[in-house]
């Protein structure tokens, strides 16, 4: 069996697994299943793609590069090993290149003479275009080696198109070009598929059109080709009035390392891989692409992709469309945001968005560079893509939380992810990620999150109006905890109870930390708020002794704010908690054995 077939089958299997309703499984079981499948896949890939000896020697690559011969017409004949080599090398080039870009950035902030500044800018421009080429190369090799993962999620077609159009519009500078998108009424708004791949395809094709059209129009139109049950086939066409492509060149247009003319390459730049990538993606998604063109008149790219019909409910959850509130816009103005994101399109999109809201934005996919930025610049907030190639968002956040600089350590981190599982949520808590936002998100969602954390940053939460009932019950000792009531509330589902207990433990540890910190900072409002927040969980888990302590903390914060007393109570909580935790664990054990 061809290893690539095997891999694509595996990918399909993985998709099916993702789609599968885990309702009957517990979250932990499901996560475990997914994990073991991933491990299996990775080890299989390693077996298939481990270079045996000196495979992928330079000569092999040279052949590929120069060759226009017919036997290489299909670009996916290349051996997986060569692709792996390319992937590996590109990856390794990216790291130092990121360093170059980053330090050029830093250099720019020093006082430079005009000529020095020009030179630094030149370094940056060159590095950026090199980076773009490497990214394309990396992506292409990943695609043709079948390593690229495809998503299958609910998404809103309109918002994908809107985003692409928004970005392409920013590419049109002082040209008289009209950009137009029409989506046929028959096309359902909610689809299931891979939205980021679709935006990549569209951005590439529409973006290309923008490059090649000096004057005239670019029209994206989307139509329903056919519908079979849940299966939906969409036809996308991008028509431009650009310079067109000669018949000769049209034949090879989707081949790798082929751009219309060499002088075109010189004029428009790029690695020439764009269209090959597009074709690879479309092939992998089970669609097809074709092109029509007449020199001097224009070009039409037409492609078909299969989707499943999505449910409207899921989309509402993902992106609610509300108009942007001008108060919110004012609130985020001037906010300094560092974005960790490896996908080039998303990088552009978010940079553009944030810029339009007048935020100061830094974008990187390099952990060390990002950390350096955080420690040397005033930054208010971090947006963190969880899935990055070299270091995951979790790991980067962990590094941030370990920073020696207090303001860096405390910075709000908002995770961004397309696929947010329950396991991720736990991991977020563990890694002290403050919030998350699901991809693809609407601008409003992003804005709301930014405002939310900006407010939290300033701890403007008002905490008043709550009257404390001084008549407290005298609670019995901590070590007797009865969880059977809450288990009943969980309808006897042990796994749910265990999940809640896990959350409870995290909350308690978090509480200990937050209170300590805010006592040191003399921020009693925050202490009181933390106390309020944890109370219902303590009550739920019958932790009466802790509850009593917390209630007293709350009361003192609101009355005399006696620091000594608060410190004492905090110590009580710290001492009492392990006993309670032990009691809870014992209860769980007992309930399980029942």
């Amino acid at each position: 069996m061809n290893p690539k077939d095997l891999l694509s089958q595996l990918t399909r299997l993985e998709h099916t697994l993702n789609d599968f309703s885990f309702e009957e499984l517990t979250a932990a079981e499901a996560a475990h299943l997914k994990n073991s499948f991933q491990t299996f896949r990775v080890s299989l890939e390693n077996k298939i793609f481990t270079p045996s000896s000196s495979i992928g020697s330079p000569t092999e690559i040279d052949i590929r590069e120069d060759s226009t011969s017919k036997n290489l017409k299909k670009n996916n004949i290349q051996s997986p090993n060569a692709d792996m080599l390319v992937a590996k090398v590109s990856h390794e080039i990216r790291t130092p290149l990121n360093g170059i870009i980053g330090f050029a950035d830093l250099l720019k902030e020093d006082k430079l003479s005009k000529i020095q500044l020009e030179r630094v800018n030149a370094i940056q421009t060159a590095s950026y275009s090199l980076m773009e080429i490497i990214n394309e190369l990396l992506e292409y090799s990943k695609l043709s080696a079948g390593l690229e993962q495809f998503e299958s999620v609910d998404f809103n077609l309109n918002s994908v198109v809107d985003n692409v159009m928004y970005l392409c519009d920013t590419l049109i500078t002082d040209k008289n070009v009209e950009l137009l998108a029409t989506i046929d009424d028959e096309v359902p708004v909610g689809l299931i598929g891979d939205p980021s791949k679709l935006s990549q395809i569209l951005l590439n094709l529409v973006g290309n059109a923008v490059k090649f059209v000096e004057e005239g129009s670019i029209h994206l139109s989307i139509e329903l080709k056919k519908q079979r049950g849940n299966q939906i086939f969409l036809t996308f066409s991008i028509t431009d009035t650009g310079i067109g492509i000669s018949k000769n060149n049209l034949e090879h247009i989707f081949d790798s390392y082929k751009q219309a003319e060499y002088d075109t390459q010189a004029k428009y730049g790029g690695s020439g891989l764009g269209l090959s990538i597009v074709k690879q993606i479309i092939d992998n998604l089970g669609g097809d692409i074709s092109v029509d063109s007449k020199l001097g008149e224009g070009t039409t790219f037409r492609f078909m992709l299969p989707y499943k019909k999505g449910s409207i409910e899921n989309i509402v959850k993902r992106d609610s469309t509300i108009s942007i509130n001008s108060d919110e816009l004012m609130a985020v103005k001037g906010l300094r945001i560092l974005v960790f994101e490896d996908n080039v399109i998303n990088q552009k999109l978010i940079a553009q968005r944030l810029k339009s809201w007048q935020c100061k934005t830094y974008v990187t996919d390099n952990a060390l560079y990002g950390l350096n930025l955080l420690e040397t610049n005033q930054i208010d907030m971090v947006l963190m893509d969880l899935k990055m190639p070299e270091m995951s968002g979790f790991e980067v956040t962990q590094l941030i939380r370990k920073s020696k600089i207090e303001s860096v350590k405390q910075i709000p981190v908002i995770a961004v992810s397309a696929d947010f599982t329950a396991q991720d949520r736990e991991k977020c808590l563990q890694h002290k990620i403050n919030d998350f936002i699901l991809k693809p998100y609407s601008p409003d969602e992003l804005l709301t999150k930014l405002v939310k954390h900006k407010n939290r940053m300033k701890t403007t939460l008002t905490f008043e109006s709550q009257t404390i009932n001084p008549a407290m019950e005298v609670y019995s000792d901590a070590t007797k905890i009865n969880l059977s009531i809450i288990l009943e509330d969980c309808l006897g589902q042990m796994d749910l109870l265990e999940e809640l207990v896990l959350l409870y433990k995290q909350n308690a540890l978090e509480f200990i930390g937050i209170v300590k910190l805010n006592l040191d900072n003399e921020d009693l409002e925050e202490v009181a708020f933390a106390a309020h927040k944890i109370k219902s969980g303590l009550a739920m888990m019958q932790s009466k002794s802790l509850y009593t302590i917390v209630e007293q903390i709350q009361k003192i914060c609101k009355t005399n704010g006696d620091r000594k007393h608060l410190n004492f109570l905090h110590n009580c909580f710290v001492e009492e908690y392990p006993l309670v935790e032990k009691a809870i664990d014992e209860q769980i054990k007992a309930l399980k054995n029942r």
């Binding site: 409910e313 509402v316 959850k317 609610s320 469309t321 509300i322 409003d444 709301t448 405002v451 939310k452 407010n455 939290r456 939460l461 109006s465 709550q466 009257t467 404390i468 009932n469 809450i486 509330d489 969980c490 309808l491 589902q493 749910l496 999940e499 809640l500 959350l503 409870y504 909350n507 309020h532 927040k533 109370k535 219902s536 969980g537 009550a539 739920m540």
Partner: protein, 123 residues
């Protein structure tokens, strides 16, 4: 007839997790929000049959939410308020603003289900 739709606004994950589970098991469709601003946002796209809201939430309290639903959106959607113990004064204000019922912490999910059903039957 489809499932009745509930909007649950609760910033305590622990409680929210449990209630969400029970409400869904109880046959409701539940949209969960962890802060008031999000609730406000949800209300522009989602029209629940009933709203359950904690009285204390970041940015937009349960009180403000009631006021917003009644005065600005002009909706008569039943609202059940979750209050902390010893917060009776606020509960009174909540009723004045137009809340339909309240339940205090610690919450019994079964009691909440009964209260929800009762409110829905009144409509």
């Amino acid at each position: 007839m489809g499932k009745k739709r509930l909007l649950l606004a609760e910033d305590d994950e622990l409680l929210a997790g449990l209630l969400n589970f029970r409400l869904e098991k109880g046959g409701y469709e539940v949209k969960l929000s962890s802060d008031g601003r999000e609730v406000k946002e949800h209300l522009t796209t989602y029209s629940p049959d009933l709203i359950i809201s904690d009285i204390m939430m970041p940015y937009f309290s349960g009180m403000e939410l009631i006021d917003y639903v009644r005065k600005e959106l002009n909706l008569s959607t039943p609202i059940i308020i979750i209050s902390s113990a010893g917060n009776e004064e606020n509960v009174l204000t909540a009723f004045e603003l137009g809340a339909n019922d309240f339940i205090s912490k610690p919450i019994s999910p079964s009691e909440l289900l009964v209260r929800i059903e009762r409110e829905l039957q009144k409509v």
